[in-house]
C-alpha cells in the first residue's frame, strides 16, 4: 500500500501537472515500475509525480533508452541519485 501525503503533493506540484495525470495511464506506469522491480516508487510519486504525465508508451520508451544508457542499471542508479530521473524530461 502506497502512503501518500496529498497536501505535500499539492504544495509541491503545479495544478496543471496534477490535473494532467490520467489514472489509468498512471496505473500502467506504476505496474511497469513494479515489474521492473523498482523499490522506491513512493519517492518517485512524492518527488517526481510529473513523470506520470507522460503517456505510458512514451514513458516506457524513455525508460528503455535510459536503462540502455546505464547498462540495465538505471533504476539502481536512480535509487542512489534521484537526480538521474531529470533525464526523463528530455
Amino acid at each position: 500500500m502506497i502512503d501518500l501525503d496529498m497536501k505535500e503533493i499539492k504544495d509541491k506540484f503545479e495544478e496543471s501537472v496534477i490535473n494532467n495525470i490520467d489514472k489509468q495511464n498512471a496505473h500502467k506506469i506504476l505496474s511497469f515500475l513494479v515489474n521492473e522491480k523498482c523499490d522506491f516508487i513512493e519517492d518517485i510519486i512524492s518527488d517526481y509525480l510529473d513523470l506520470f504525465t507522460f503517456d505510458y508508451e512514451e514513458f516506457v520508451n524513455k525508460y528503455t533508452k535510459l536503462n540502455e544508457k546505464y547498462n540495465g542499471e538505471f533504476l539502481k542508479e536512480a535509487r542512489a541519485n534521484m537526480d538521474l530521473l531529470e533525464e526523463f524530461y528530455y
Partner: protein, 836 residues
C-alpha cells in the same frame, strides 16, 4: 287564462319549458300569444331575450324596448340581456342617457347588471362622495349594482376594513353580500384555525356565512391528504359537493392520485367524474397529460383535443404536454397547421411552450425583421414563446446591448424577463461590487430583481465555506431554497465540506437532505460515491443504483465511482449487461470513464472495423468513451497519420481532444520549425490548440538559455506556468543556471524558492540540484540539520575536482535506509524534538 288556453300554451312551449313560470300564467292568453309571435324574435340580437323574465312586461312595452334605436349603437349592444325586462322603456332610456356615463371612472359600469337598479338609484350610487377616495375607486365595478346606495355606504364604512388582515378582502366581489352578512363572515371563529387562514380571500364573498362554516367544519380536513386542497378556489363549491368529490372512488386509482389538487374545485362532482373517466386516458400517449392542468377544461373539450388527428404526425407528438389544456382544439389546430413549420429555420421552435401564444402572435414573432440580423438569430429559440412580439422587439432594441459588458447577456434565457425587469436588473448597483461581477451571466434571467437582491444580500456569503457557492448557477434556485440549503446542519460536519460546491444548486433542499440522510453512506463500499456530482440525482434513484445486484460481480466493482451519477439506472443496467464484456479483449475497457458513453455508442465503438488495423489497436483504451463513433472514425481516418512525424501521436491520449482540434493541431505550421519538432509526442494532447500556439509563440524560446527546455514535458503545463518559470530571477545568477532543466516546469515556484533558500542558509546553494528542489523544503532542511548534527559533510569533491552535494541529499528514502542507515521517519521525529 282558462284551461283550454293553458293547454294551448303548454303545447306550444313543450320544447321551451324554461319560459314557463308563475308570472306567465298571470298574463292573458292573447298577450302571451302576442309576445311569443312577435317578429322581433327572428332578429339574431334578440334571441337570447326570450326568457321567463319577459312576462313582467306587456307586448307593447316589449316591442318598444326591442325597437329602441339605442341598440344599433355598438356600446349598448351588450346590455341587451334578459335582465332588461326589469325596467320599462322610459327607465331604460333614462339610464342609457345619464350624463354620468361621460365620466371616465364610470364607463366600465354600464353592463347588463345595471337593470337591477332604477335610474335614481344608479345616479345616487355614481355620485357617492366615497368614490373620490383612492382606496375605494377599484370597487366601482358592475357588481356594485347588486347593492343600493345605503348598503354600499354601510359596507364601505365598516370599521373592519381598518384591520390589516381584512384590507385585502375589500374587493368588488364584496358587493355579492350585504353588510350584515359580511360582518358575520369576517367574525367567524373558524378564522382562528391555522388551516383556514389561507382561505380568507375576496372569493369568499361568493358564499353565505352558513355555507362557509359548513365547508370549514367538514371532518375531511383532519385528514392529512386533503389539507392541501384548502385553498380559496374551494369557494366555488358547497359542502355537499366537496364531500361528494373527496369521497369519489376514482381517487383509489393510482393514475389519478396526482390530480387531487385545489384546481379541481372549478368543477362539480359530475364534471370531475366525467373527466376522470375519459377513455382516452388509457392510451399510452395521453398518460403524461393526467395532471391538474386538465381541470380547466370540460371532458368534451379534453376529448376534442386528445382526438385531434394532428397527434399522429411525428413532429407534433412531443407537443402533447399538460400545458396544452390552456388552449382549445381550434387554437391548437391553427398553430400546428401553420405553413411556417415547413421552413427549416423555424422547425426547432415547435415545442410545447408554444401553447403560451396563439397563431397570430406566433406569426408576428416569426416575421419580425430582427431575425435577419446575425446577432439576433441565436435568440430565436423556443423560450421566445413566453413573450409577445411587441415586447421582444423592445428587448432586442434596448441600447444596453451596445455596452460591451452586457453583450454576452443577450441569450435565449432573456425571454423569461420583461423589458422593465431586464433594465432593472442591468442597473442594479450590486454589479459594481467585484465579488458579484462574475454572477452577471445569462442564467440571471431566471430570477427577478427582488429575488436577485435577496440572494446577494444573504449574510452566508461572508462565511468562507459558502463563498465558493456564489456562482452563476445559483440563479436556478429561489432565495428561499438557497436559504434552506445553506442552513442545513450537515454543513457543520467537516466531512461534508467537499459536497458544498456550486453543483448543489441543481438540487432542491428537500432532496439534498434525503440524500445526506441515506444509510448507504455508512457502508465502506459507497462512502467515496458521496461527492458533489451526486446533486444531479434524486435520493430514490441513487438508492436504486446502489442496490443493483450487478455490483456483486467482481468485474463491475471498479465501476462504482462518483461519475456514475451521470447515468440513469436503466442506462447503467443496459451498459453492464452488454455481451461484449464477456470477451477478454474488452475487459480492460470496463473502467468508470464508461459512464460518459451511451450504450449504442459503446457498442458501436467496440465493433468498429478499425480495431483490426495494427496501427490503431493501441488506441482502444478506456478513455475512448469520451468520444462517439463518428468522431473516432473521423480522427482515425485523418490523412496526417500517413506522415511519419505524426505517427507517434497515435496513442490513447488522443481521445482527450475532439477531431476538429486534432486537425487544427496537426496543421499548425510550427511543426516545420526544427526547434519544435521534438515536441510532437502524445503529451501534446494534454493541451488545446490555443494553448499550444501560446506556448510555441513565447518569445522566450529565442533565448539560448531556454532552448534545452523545449521537450515534450512542456505540454504538462500551461503557458502561464512555463512563462513564470522562465522568468525567474535565479536564471540570471550563474550559480543556478544549471537548474534550467525541463523537469523544472512541474514544480511550484514556492517549492523552488524555498529549496534554494534552504541551501543558501547553509552556504551550499551553488551545488543545488533539481532533485533537492523536489523535496519539501522543510524535509530538506531537516536532513541537512541531521547530517550536520552527526558530523556528516554536506558537500563532496567530485572526480573532476569540483564540489557537489553529498549523495545523501540526492538519495531515495530506500537508499538512505539501506545504504546510509538513515530512516527518514525516525530522523524527522528526532529533529522535531531537537527544534523544540
Amino acid at each position: 287564462m282558462n284551461e283550454v288556453e293553458e293547454e294551448k300554451i303548454r303545447e306550444r312551449l313543450k320544447d321551451k319549458q324554461d319560459l314557463i313560470n308563475e308570472a306567465m300564467w298571470l298574463r292573458k292568453f292573447e298577450d302571451v300569444e302576442k309576445i311569443l309571435n312577435m317578429p322581433e324574435w327572428n332578429d339574431e340580437k334578440n334571441k337570447g331575450l326570450l326568457t321567463s323574465r319577459i312576462w313582467i312586461r306587456k307586448a307593447e312595452e316589449i316591442r318598444k324596448i326591442l325597437n329602441m334605436p339605442e341598440w344599433n349603437d355598438e356600446k349598448y349592444k351588450s346590455l341587451l340581456t334578459p335582465n332588461i325586462w326589469a325596467r320599462t322603456e322610459k327607465e331604460i332610456r333614462k339610464i342609457l342617457n345619464m350624463p354620468e356615463w361621460n365620466d371616465e371612472k364610470n364607463k366600465g359600469l354600464l353592463t347588463s347588471s345595471i337593470w337591477i337598479r332604477r335610474a335614481e338609484e344608479i345616479r345616487e350610487i355614481l355620485n357617492m362622495p366615497e368614490w373620490s377616495n383612492e382606496k375605494y375607486r377599484s370597487l366601482l365595478t358592475p357588481t356594485i349594482w347588486f347593492r343600493d346606495e345605503e348598503e354600499i355606504r354601510k359596507i364601505l364604512n365598516m370599521p373592519e376594513w381598518n384591520d390589516e388582515k381584512y384590507k385585502s378582502l375589500l374587493k368588488p366581489t364584496v358587493w355579492g353580500r350585504n353588510e350584515k352578512e359580511i360582518r358575520k363572515i369576517l367574525n367567524m371563529p373558524e378564522w382562528g384555525d391555522e388551516r383556514y387562514k389561507g382561505l380568507q380571500t375576496s372569493s369568499i364573498w361568493m358564499k353565505k356565512a352558513e355555507e362557509i362554516s359548513e365547508i370549514m367544519n367538514m371532518p375531511e380536513w383532519s385528514n392529512e391528504k386533503y389539507k392541501s386542497l384548502l385553498t380559496p378556489t374551494i369557494w366555488f363549491r358547497n359542502a355537499e359537493e366537496i364531500g361528494e368529490i373527496l369521497n369519489m372512488p376514482e381517487w383509489r386509482d393510482e393514475r389519478y392520485k396526482g390530480l387531487l389538487t385545489s384546481s379541481m374545485w372549478r368543477n362539480n362532482a359530475e364534471e370531475i367524474r366525467e373527466i376522470l373517466n375519459i377513455p382516452e386516458w388509457n392510451e399510452e400517449r395521453n398518460k403524461g397529460l393526467l395532471t391538474p392542468s386538465i381541470w380547466i377544461k370540460s371532458a368534451e373539450e379534453i376529448r376534442e383535443i386528445l382526438n385531434m388527428p394532428e397527434w399522429n404526425e411525428e413532429r407534433n407528438k412531443s407537443l402533447l404536454t399538460p400545458n396544452i389544456f390552456i388552449k382549445n382544439a381550434e387554437g391548437i389546430k391553427e398553430i400546428l397547421n401553420m405553413p411556417e413549420w415547413s421552413d427549416a429555420r423555424y422547425r426547432g421552435l415547435l415545442t410545447s411552450n408554444i401553447w403560451n401564444r396563439n397563431a397570430e402572435g406566433i406569426r408576428e414573432i416569426l416575421n419580425m425583421p430582427e431575425w435577419s440580423n446575425e446577432k439576433y438569430k441565436s435568440l430565436l429559440t423556443p423560450t421566445i414563446w413566453s413573450r409577445k412580439a411587441e415586447e421582444i422587439q423592445k428587448i432586442l432594441n434596448m441600447p444596453e446591448w451596445n455596452d460591451e459588458k452586457y453583450k454576452s447577456l443577450l441569450t435565449p434565457t432573456i425571454w423569461f424577463r420583461s423589458v422593465e425587469e431586464i433594465r432593472k436588473i442591468l442597473n442594479m448597483p450590486e454589479w459594481k461590487d467585484e465579488k458579484y461581477k462574475s454572477l452577471l451571466t445569462p442564467t440571471i434571467w431566471y430570477r427577478n430583481v427582488e429575488e436577485i437582491r435577496e440572494i446577494l444580500s444573504m449574510p452566508e456569503w461572508k462565511d468562507e465555506k459558502y463563498k465558493r457557492l456564489l456562482t452563476p448557477n445559483i440563479w436556478s434556485r429561489k432565495a428561499e431554497e438557497i436559504q434552506k440549503i445553506l442552513e442545513m446542519p450537515e454543513w457543520k460536519d467537516k466531512k461534508n465540506k467537499g459536497l458544498l460546491t456550486a453543483t448543489i444548486w441543481t438540487g432542491k433542499a428537500e432532496e439534498i437532505q434525503k440524500i445526506l440522510e441515506m444509510p448507504e453512506w455508512k457502508d465502506e463500499r459507497y462512502k467515496s460515491l458521496l461527492t458533489s456530482t451526486i446533486w444531479t440525482r434524486k435520493a430514490e434513484k441513487i438508492q436504486e443504483i446502489l442496490n443493483m445486484p450487478e455490483w456483486n460481480e467482481e468485474r463491475f466493482q471498479g465501476l462504482l465511482t462518483s461519475n456514475i451519477w451521470r447515468k440513469k439506472v436503466e442506462e447503467i443496467r443496459e451498459i453492464l449487461n452488454m455481451p461484449e464484456w464477456s470477451d477478454e479483449k474488452y475487459k480492460s475497457l470496463l473502467t468508470p470513464t464508461i459512464w460518459y458513453g451511451k450504450v449504442e455508442e459503446i457498442q458501436g465503438i467496440l465493433n468498429m472495423p478499425e480495431w483490426n488495423e495494427e496501427r490503431f489497436q493501441g488506441l482502444l483504451r478506456s478513455n475512448i468513451w469520451r468520444r462517439n463513433v463518428e468522431e473516432i472514425q473521423e480522427i482515425l481516418r485523418m490523412p496526417e497519420w500517413e506522415e511519419k512525424r505524426f505517427q507517434g501521436l497515435l496513442t490513447a491520449t488522443i481521445w482527450t481532444r475532439k477531431a476538429e482540434e486534432i486537425q487544427k493541431i496537426l496543421e499548425m505550421p510550427e511543426w516545420e520549425d526544427e526547434r519544435f519538432q521534438g515536441l510532437l509526442t502524445p503529451n501534446v494532447w494534454a493541451r488545446n490548440v490555443e494553448e499550444i500556439q501560446e506556448i510555441l509563440d513565447m518569445p522566450e524560446w529565442e533565448d539560448e538559455r531556454f532552448q534545452g527546455l523545449l521537450t515534450s514535458n512542456i505540454w504538462s503545463n500551461n503557458a502561464d506556468v512555463i512563462r513564470e518559470k522562465l522568468n525567474l530571477e535565479y536564471w540570471k545568477d550563474d550559480r543556478y543556471v544549471h537548474l534550467l532543466k525541463p523537469g523544472i516546469f512541474g514544480l511550484k515556484m514556492d517549492n523552488i524558492k524555498k529549496g534554494i533558500e534552504v541551501l543558501e542558509r547553509y552556504g551550499i546553494s551553488e551545488c543545488v540540484t533539481n532533485r533537492c528542489l523536489r523535496r519539501k523544503a522543510d524535509d530538506l532542511e531537516m536532513l541537512i540539520k541531521y547530517m550536520l548534527k552527526n558530523g556528516m559533510s554536506l558537500l563532496v569533491t567530485k572526480q573532476n575536482g569540483s564540489k557537489g552535494l553529498a549523495p545523501i541529499l540526492s538519495a531515495s528514502t530506500k537508499e538512505l535506509k539501506e545504504n546510509h542507515g538513515i530512516d527518514i521517519k525516525k530522523v524527522k521525529k528526532e529533529m522535531e524534538g531537537v527544534d523544540r
